[in-house]
């Protein structure tokens, strides 16, 4: 099998796929790529199944040596990648010759960049997935972020490949959004209508403490009208909970599976990938939409992704 040597890991680089569903009953959250759309498109560029494992880099990319070469693609945010000394375009498949090095720098756009490799990153599966769950140290490559000197096995290639790129109309569709669409949270009526309105008309700043578990938002604090203690219950991906301090938190891919704070809103499924691209200090706003609209956008998004024309050969 071919392999990748980690020359420098970058700020926080982990092995991720589309996560592990079905283990909420033992407290295991799905984890998986923070920007699942970029991972899926990257895998298709290199001829993998959409759910293959890849490297997720955060804010500052790493340096990776391919002693035996590989077919790779970079998706998500632009981390100014070079192959040896030549700039590499994101969103296209790239042939890496034996001994070549891909070097990435600080982000020029959002928070995360994906390095997808034909054949996928081969790591032992934990509960059916290659995703790293950092908090519990489970899954991925030894349950942790990559370090200098790590050697990652690459799985066998699936199929021969032509040069591919993401169709411009698809790339355009998945550009970052500064306004995230949300639906009402299960405790939305615990907040005054004016609080909900203020939440949707204010600009929030992404806090420095944000990570794969949650995005902390700084801005107008939200007060609860109903002062009752809540019974701990399951939390959904993208739930926006409001702790007693009033500063909202978006619960994300490595979220706790249950929680005891009221949720005012929830990011819609079609916009979850945008949450994965939020950087500390980014500004973000929220727009309230109906469940029906959220569902139709998801269906439309999936239809677009599934179309063969989304990847150009």
């Amino acid at each position: 099998m071919s392999f990748i040597r980690v020359e420098s890991p970058g700020l926080l680089t982990t092995v991720q796929d589309l996560g592990r569903d079905g283990f909420g009953t033992i407290g295991v959250s799905p984890s998986g790529a923070a920007d699942a759309i970029s991972l899926r498109l990257g895998n298709r560029l290199v001829g993998n199944v959409e759910s293959a494992a890849a490297l997720e880099m955060t804010l500052l990319g790493g340096t990776f040596i391919f002693p035996e070469g590989a077919i790779v693609a970079l998706t998500g945010s632009d981390f100014g990648a070079v192959l040896d000394d030549a700039a590499v375009a994101p969103g296209t498949s790239i042939r890496v010759r034996p001994g070549q090095t891909i070097r990435l720098g600080p982000t020029r756009s959002g928070a995360r960049c994906y390095l997808c490799v034909q054949g996928g990153i081969a790591v032992p599966r934990f509960l059916g997935s290659a995703s790293t769950h950092l908090l519990s140290g489970l899954g991925g490559f030894q349950g942790r972020a990559l370090r200098k000197g790590d050697v990652l096995q690459i799985g066998p290639p699936i199929q021969p490949l032509h040069r591919t790129s993401i169709a411009p109309k698809v790339a355009e569709q998945f550009l970052r959004r500064d306004v995230l669409r949300v639906t009402r949270g299960p405790q939305a009526d615990w907040f005054d209508e004016s609080s909900l309105r203020e939440f949707c008309s204010s600009t929030y700043r992404v806090g420095e403490q944000s990570n794969r578990m949650g995005i902390r938002l700084e801005g107008p604090s939200i007060s609860q009208s109903k002062v009752t203690s809540m019974i701990t219950e399951g939390v959904s991906l993208g739930a926006i909970q409001v702790p007693s301090g009033g500063s909202p938190i978006i619960l994300f891919v490595e979220q706790q599976t249950t929680g005891g704070y009221p949720k005012i809103a929830n990011v819609i499924s079609a916009d979850l990938h945008c949450v994965g691209q939020l950087r500390p200090r980014d500004e973000v706003r929220f727009e309230l939409v109906t469940f029906e609209a959220a569902r139709s956008w998801l269906i439309e998004q999936e239809r677009m992704l599934a179309s063969p024309e989304s990847i150009l050969e």
Binding site: I26, G234, K263, S269
Partner: protein
């Protein structure tokens, strides 16, 4: 729906791809039994398009494929399901034991907890280890069991500011709950002891030491016994 069979049920969309099912708005053993029965049904008779299930005290959150169902459509499927809960029999709960070394470096908050309740640390240990607890559900992080049944006289508010780190195996209490931290995570519960048992081990058949519905007792052990069990 005949309430005599399934009791009070409320459905609440949580996101465009998840639905909460509430069995009342209180922590009760009867709501807990219905949560367990619903899980049993999901296990024996899975619903296509349901991706994940998050049980809690008196509710179950269901993540589903929103391309397949609207909330109303899933609710309809679930109502038929709930009608079957009444005839389900749950197996006898397992009796589990958690050997625990109390106080000192193992339970840095034991003395404070005792002081708050105007008792000696030994009395606090005696109270904590004499009760039988129910695993209402697992949540928060892998293998974390929410144990109900802490004696009222030990009910203690959480720490004003959570610890950044809790050693794995730490036994904590808060309000009327107790629990064991499986991983080194931040935590606001008061730590009164530590168990040498690994609460979550991916290489074990039952990864989680505790399962929903288990009855649990804490047994006091010495530091020497802790060390022996830890290295076993």
């Amino acid at each position: 729906m005949p309430t005599s069979i399934t009791g009070e049920v409320r459905f609440q969309p949580a996101s465009d791809q998840s639905l909460l099912v509430y069995f009342g708005e209180q922590i009760t053993l009867s709501a807990h039994e219905r949560v367990r029965k619903l899980l049993r049904l999901f296990e024996s008779d899975p619903i296509a398009g349901v991706r994940n299930i998050h049980p809690a005290y008196s509710s179950v959150l269901i993540d589903f494929d929103a391309r397949k169902y609207s909330h109303d459509q899933l609710e309809e499927v679930l109502r038929a399901y709930l009608g079957r809960l009444g005839s389900l029999r749950l197996s006898e709960p397992r009796q589990m034991e958690i050997p625990t070394c109390y106080g000192g470096e193992y339970g840095p908050d034991l003395d404070d907890v005792a002081r708050l309740h105007k008792m000696t640390p030994n009395q606090a240990v005696e109270l904590h280890s004499s009760a039988t607890y129910v695993v209402y559900f697992l949540g928060f992080v892998p293998g974390f069991a929410y144990l109900g049944g802490l004696p009222e006289s030990l009910a203690t508010p959480r720490l004003d500011s959570p610890r950044r780190n809790t050693p794995p195996g730490s036994v904590g209490i808060t309000d009327n709950q107790t629990g064991v931290y499986p991983f080194d995570t931040p935590g606001g519960w008061r730590l009164i002891g530590r168990t040498p048992i690994a609460m979550f081990r991916p290489d074990r058949d039952n990864m989680s030491y505790l399962a929903i519905g288990d009855r649990v007792r804490f047994t006091p052990i010495s530091a020497a016994r802790f060390a022996a069990l830890k290295s076993a």
